[in-house]
């Protein structure tokens, strides 16, 4: 993986909300700051969720589903090739499933 991002250390251990209107550590800011540019540069990403207090759906949907809406992920294979998710602590073990579900939903809607 080209780039390693620890959500808790690089962004915030307390993410929440969809866009900047909702608060500082929202999904849109995370996507714009850490995910969009590496994907444009065709780089692969290792995202570590350990240390995060929890995974609000609005945050995860906006961060990852937003990549589909922005045209940075076109297929599910794209996601599988470019991302590796690490979530071992009990509070965030469902992160990979959630992300996959939101990406699939966003892809379905785009078709």
């Amino acid at each position: 993986m080209d780039i390693e991002i620890s959500v808790a250390e690089d962004f915030s251990p307390f993410p929440g909300g969809r866009n900047p209107k909702h608060g500082e550590f929202n999904g849109e800011s995370f996507r714009q700051k850490y995910l969009e540019q590496p994907l444009r540069d065709n780089k692969t990403l290792l995202i570590i969720f350990d240390g995060v207090a929890g995974l609000p759906s609005s945050f995860i949907e906006e961060a990852f589903g937003g990549l589909v809406r922005e045209g940075l992920l076109r297929t599910y294979t794209d996601y599988k090739e470019k991302f590796k998710i690490v979530a071992e602590s009990p509070a965030v073990t469902n992160a990979p499933n959630m992300i996959e579900r939101y990406i699939k939903d966003a892809l379905k809607r785009k078709r």
Binding site: A53, G54, P56, S57, S58, G65, V92, D105
Partner: protein, 380 residues
């Protein structure tokens, strides 16, 4: 010379009085035009009048000895068991604080001497109402308007609950060392309430961690679910509870949420409560598509709409990526025996007991805002 001065003084006074009358007339014209054109205010006022009419009139006592005019709190504040009395007290409290004119001779005062039991939802609503009235005033002399001088006369445990939850602090009461009234409650430990307008994950985490420290078992996975549920509730408040056209009556319109937590050692249960004074969940559910079909089939009550939003999530934004928050709030009680999520909003009371067991009932009048309670049982 003296006569001339008196004459000038009188002239000046006349001028000042005339100017004041003119200003009062201008203000009256402005407010009447504002109220006539403001349908949101008219709606909010109607709802408030409905609540006042449904409930009993508040017991207000004039106490010349202590120069106070006191609103007396009932014995029991419990939204589930004593809805009429509890809602009545809150409606009367709002009227007492915001609409009763101030006089120089009497201080407004809320008498909690009769209060014997209070449920967790009511505790947070009370904190929110007092916070709206007192919490944002900068000057200490205003904060002391409702200073509880007779805490020693309160029922045992009530003063402790109020102090730990942050209510006494709002009123400006400073506990003294060895204060007998503030002896710990035998089994309840409240965590100080939090208030904000934004989605603040750190505040949600504080509540979860503070309760977790009191709990017998520390379950990190459950902590993550609760954090998620609380932040989703904050997001919902931020996005939907206070639409631009919404006005609060009485009192100011602020886009706050309030959150608190209490641990009950007798039942080993953690209670988390979130409250907003907004438009209410049923009004934010769009009356089109799936909701329209419910209205057509006759199930258009508030409780049916909230129930449907919990089981088949949709958002008022109409965008398909939204509307998952409510479902995630419910996930915190899934697979936890004896736990429940209760949503009181509009006229709806919906209780979710995990794994799609839902019960609901309809209230006679609108609650005013949204109150969400998670009750998480630690026992197996």
């Amino acid at each position: 010379m003296k006569r001339l001065t008196t004459f000038r003084k009188e002239k000046l006074l006349r001028l000042i009085r005339a100017r004041r009358r003119k200003e009062q007339k201008r203000k009256a014209r402005f407010f009447s035009a504002y109220e006539q054109g403001n349908t949101a205010l008219a709606v909010a006022r109607d709802l408030f009048q409905q609540r006042i009419q449904y409930c009993e009139k508040g017991e207000i006592e004039d106490r010349p000895d202590s120069r106070r005019i006191a609103l007396v709190c009932p014995q029991e504040l419990n939204i589930q068991a004593n809805f009429q009395g509890t809602l009545g007290f809150f409606a009367n409290l709002q009227h007492f604080i915001h609409l009763r004119p101030r006089t120089k001779k009497r201080t407004k005062y809320v008498d909690f001497c009769n209060l014997k039991t209070i449920d967790f939802g009511s505790l947070l609503v009370l904190a929110a109402e007092l916070d709206m009235a007192l919490g944002q005033r900068s000057k200490q002399r205003y904060r002391n308007v409702l200073l509880p001088a007779d805490v020693h006369l309160w029922q045992s445990g009530i003063a402790y609950l109020f102090q730990q939850f942050g209510i006494l602090e709002l009123t400006g009461y400073r506990p003294r060392e060895g204060d007998e009234a503030l002896q710990a409650h035998p089994y309840l430990t409240p965590i100080r309430f939090r208030r904000d307008t934004l989605v603040k994950g750190s505040l949600a985490n504080d509540l979860v961690q503070d309760v977790s420290a009191l709990s017998v078992r520390r379950d990190e996975e459950q902590g993550g679910k609760l954090y998620t549920a609380l932040t989703e509730a904050m997001t919902n408040t931020n996005m939907h509870a206070y639409p631009v056209s919404f006005t609060n009556y009485p009192g100011r319109t602020n886009t706050f949420w309030w959150g608190g937590a209490i641990y009950d050692r007798s039942t080993e249960t953690a209670h988390f409560v979130m409250y907003d004074r907004g438009v209410g969940l049923p009004k934010t559910i769009p009356k089109r598509g799936w909701a329209r079909s419910m209205v057509d089939s006759g199930a258009n009550s508030d409780s049916a709409l909230v129930k449907a939003a919990l089981t088949a999530p949709r958002s008022s934004t109409g965008e398909p990526q939204h509307g998952k928050g409510l479902r995630q709030m419910a996930e915190a009680v899934d697979h936890k025996e004896g736990s429940f999520l209760r949503i009181i909003s509009g006229k709806a009371v919906v209780t979710y007991r995990g794994d799609n067991q839902i019960s609901s009932r309809e209230l006679p009048v609108e609650f005013g805002g949204t109150l969400i309670e998670w009750s998480i049982c630690d026992r197996d």
